[in-house]
C-alpha cells in the first residue's frame, strides 16, 4: 500500500490529468444517460402499448441487453461504428446508452403501471385522448415515482462508463491504469481513481435527492 503522504502528492500532481479525464467521464455519463432516457421511455411505451408486435420488439431489445455483458456490447458498438468513422467516444456513449436504455425502460414501465387506473379514466372522462392523458397526467407522476430507481441507474451508468477505457477512451479509469503501469505505481493511481468516482457518485446522489425534493411539492 502507498503511504498517505505519497498518495496525497500524486493526487495533487495528477490533478490536471484527472481533471481532463473526469470531464470525459462526465461527458460519457451525461450524454449516454440522456440518450438512454429517450430510449427507455420509447421502449417503456412500446411495452405498455398493448400491441403484441410492439411489445415483442421491446421485449427482444431488453432480452438482448440483459442477456449479454456490457463490455461485449461496447465492443460490438466500437467495431460496428468505427466502420462508420465514429469516434471511440461516440461508440462508448452509444453503447452505454443502448445498455442503460433497457434498464431505464423497465424502470419507466414499472412506474407508469404503478399509477392508479383512475388517473387515466379521469383524463379520458374529461375528453382527453389516451396520448394526451399519458403525456399530461400519467408520465409526470410516473417520472416522479421513477426518480429513486433512476438515480440508482444513473450511478450504475456513471461507474460503468469506466468500461469505455477498453476501447481507448481516456477517461478516469484508463488514465489510472495507464499512468499506474507506466510509473509502476498502479495501487496509488487506482486509489486516486476510486476517490474521483466516489466524489462523482456523491455529487450525483445529492443532485437526485434535490430533484426528488423539488418534485415532492405536491405531497
Amino acid at each position: 500500500m502507498p503511504s498517505i503522504q505519497h498518495l496525497f502528492e500524486v493526487f495533487i500532481s495528477s490533478y490536471d490529468q484527472f481533471f481532463h479525464a473526469t470531464w470525459l467521464t462526465l461527458k460519457l455519463t451525461v450524454v449516454s444517460i440522456f440518450i438512454a432516457m429517450f430510449i427507455g421511455l420509447f421502449f417503456a411505451l412500446l411495452k405498455i402499448s398493448r400491441i403484441a408486435v410492439l411489445e415483442s420488439i421491446a421485449n427482444f431489445y431488453i432480452f438482448i441487453v440483459r442477456g449479454t455483458p456490457l463490455i461485449v456490447q461496447i465492443f460490438i458498438f466500437y467495431f460496428g461504428l468505427t466502420e462508420l468513422n465514429m469516434s471511440d467516444f461516440w461508440a462508448a456513449t452509444l453503447g452505454l446508452a443502448f445498455h442503460n436504455g433497457a434498464y431505464i425502460a423497465e424502470i419507466f414501465r414499472g412506474a407508469i403501471q404503478s399509477i392508479e387506473k383512475g388517473q387515466m379514466e379521469a383524463g379520458r372522462s374529461l375528453g382527453m385522448s389516451r396520448t394526451l392523458t399519458m403525456r399530461r397526467i400519467i408520465l409526470p407522476q410516473a417520472f416522479r415515482r421513477a426518480l429513486p430507481p433512476l438515480g440508482n441507474q444513473f450511478i450504475i451508468g456513471l461507474k460503468d462508463s469506466s468500461l469505455a477505457a477498453f476501447i481507448g477512451v481516456y477517461e478516469i479509469f484508463n488514465l489510472a491504469t495507464t499512468q499506474g503501469s507506466e510509473s509502476f505505481d498502479s495501487m496509488t493511481w487506482l486509489i486516486i481513481c476510486a476517490i474521483y468516482y466516489l466524489i462523482l457518485v456523491f455529487l450525483l446522489t445529492l443532485l437526485v435527492s434535490y430533484m426528488e425534493r423539488r418534485l415532492a411539492v405536491s405531497d
Binding site: A122, S125, L126, G127, Q141, D219
Partner: protein, 245 residues
C-alpha cells in the same frame, strides 16, 4: 310537450368474460332529469354508468346520446365524453396539479381555451363549490369532501350537458357526505341532467326524478321516488329496500 331526450339506452348487454353484467337494459333520461340508480353491489349499476361515457364499451345494444347513436368504432369518443362529465368514487384528482390546474386542465388542453379565460371560469366554478380559497392547494391538502367538490368543478369546467356520478360519497367520512350532496343538489336545481349511482337513499328521495332499481344485471323497477320507496311493485325491490331502510 316532450322533453329533450339526453340519453337513451336500448337492449344494452355487457359481459366481462363469462360474467354477464348488464342484461337487456332499456333506459331513457330526459333533459334536466335526475336519475338515481340503486341496487346491491355487483348489480351492474356502475357498469351501466360507465357504458354511458364509454369507459366500458357495450357488447350489444344501443347507446344514444343527445339523439345520436354512438358507435365506438366510428365515433370520436373524446368528443362524446366532453359532453358527459363523470365524478368518481375515489375522486381521481390529478395529485401533481393544484386545484386550479386540475380544473383548467381539460378546458385548456382539450377545448383549447385560453389559459386566462379558463382560469376565470375555474374561479367561478370553485366559488360555486365553495372552494375558491383552495385554488392553489394541492389535492393532498384537502379533505375527502373538498376533493370531491373539486372533482365536480373539474367536470363542470368542460360544460357538459350530462353529469354521471359513480358513488360520489361512498369513500367519504360520514360527516363529509352532506357537503358533496348539497353541491349535487344545487346542480340538480340548476337543471343539470344527472345519472347518479348512490347508496344515499335520502338524496334519492329528495332530489331524484326517477329511481331505478337494478338487480343481477337487470333493471327490475323504475319509478318516482315516492312510488318506488313507499310502494315498490316488485318483490325484489321490496326485499332490497327492507334490507337498507
Amino acid at each position: 310537450m316532450s322533453a329533450k331526450e339526453m340519453i337513451r339506452i336500448e337492449k344494452l348487454n355487457k359481459s366481462f368474460g363469462d360474467l354477464h353484467v348488464l342484461k337487456d337494459i332499456d333506459m331513457t333520461v330526459n333533459e334536466s332529469d335526475v336519475v338515481v340508480l340503486i341496487g346491491a353491489s355487483g348489480s351492474g349499476k356502475s357498469t351501466l354508468l360507465r357504458c354511458i361515457n364509454f369507459l366500458e364499451i357495450k357488447d350489444h345494444g344501443k347507446v344514444i346520446i343527445e339523439g345520436e347513436e354512438i358507435d365506438p368504432s366510428t365515433h370520436n369518443l373524446n368528443d362524446v365524453r366532453q359532453n358527459v362529465g363523470m365524478v368518481f368514487q375515489h375522486f381521481n384528482l390529478f395529485p401533481h396539479k393544484t386545484v386550479l390546474e386540475n380544473v383548467i386542465e381539460a378546458p385548456v388542453h382539450v377545448k383549447k381555451m385560453s389559459r386566462k379565460q379558463a382560469v376565470e371560469e375555474a374561479k367561478v366554478l370553485l366559488e360555486k363549490v365553495g372552494l375558491a380559497d383552495k385554488a392553489d392547494e394541492y389535492p393532498s391538502r384537502l379533505s375527502g369532501g373538498q376533493k370531491q367538490r373539486v372533482a365536480i368543478a373539474r367536470s363542470l369546467a368542460m360544460q357538459p350537458d350530462i353529469m354521471l356520478f359513480d358513488e360520489p360519497t361512498s369513500a367519504l367520512d360520514p360527516e363529509l357526505v352532506g357537503e358533496v350532496l348539497a353541491t349535487m343538489k344545487e346542480l340538480a336545481n340548476e337543471g343539470m341532467t344527472m345519472v347518479v349511482v348512490t347508496h344515499e337513499m335520502g338524496f334519492a328521495r329528495e332530489v331524484a326524478d326517477w329511481v331505478v332499481y337494478m338487480h343481477d344485471g337487470y333493471i327490475v323497477e323504475t319509478g318516482k321516488p315516492n312510488e318506488l320507496f313507499d310502494n315498490p311493485k316488485e318483490e325484489r325491490t321490496q326485499e332490497f329496500l327492507s334490507t337498507i331502510l
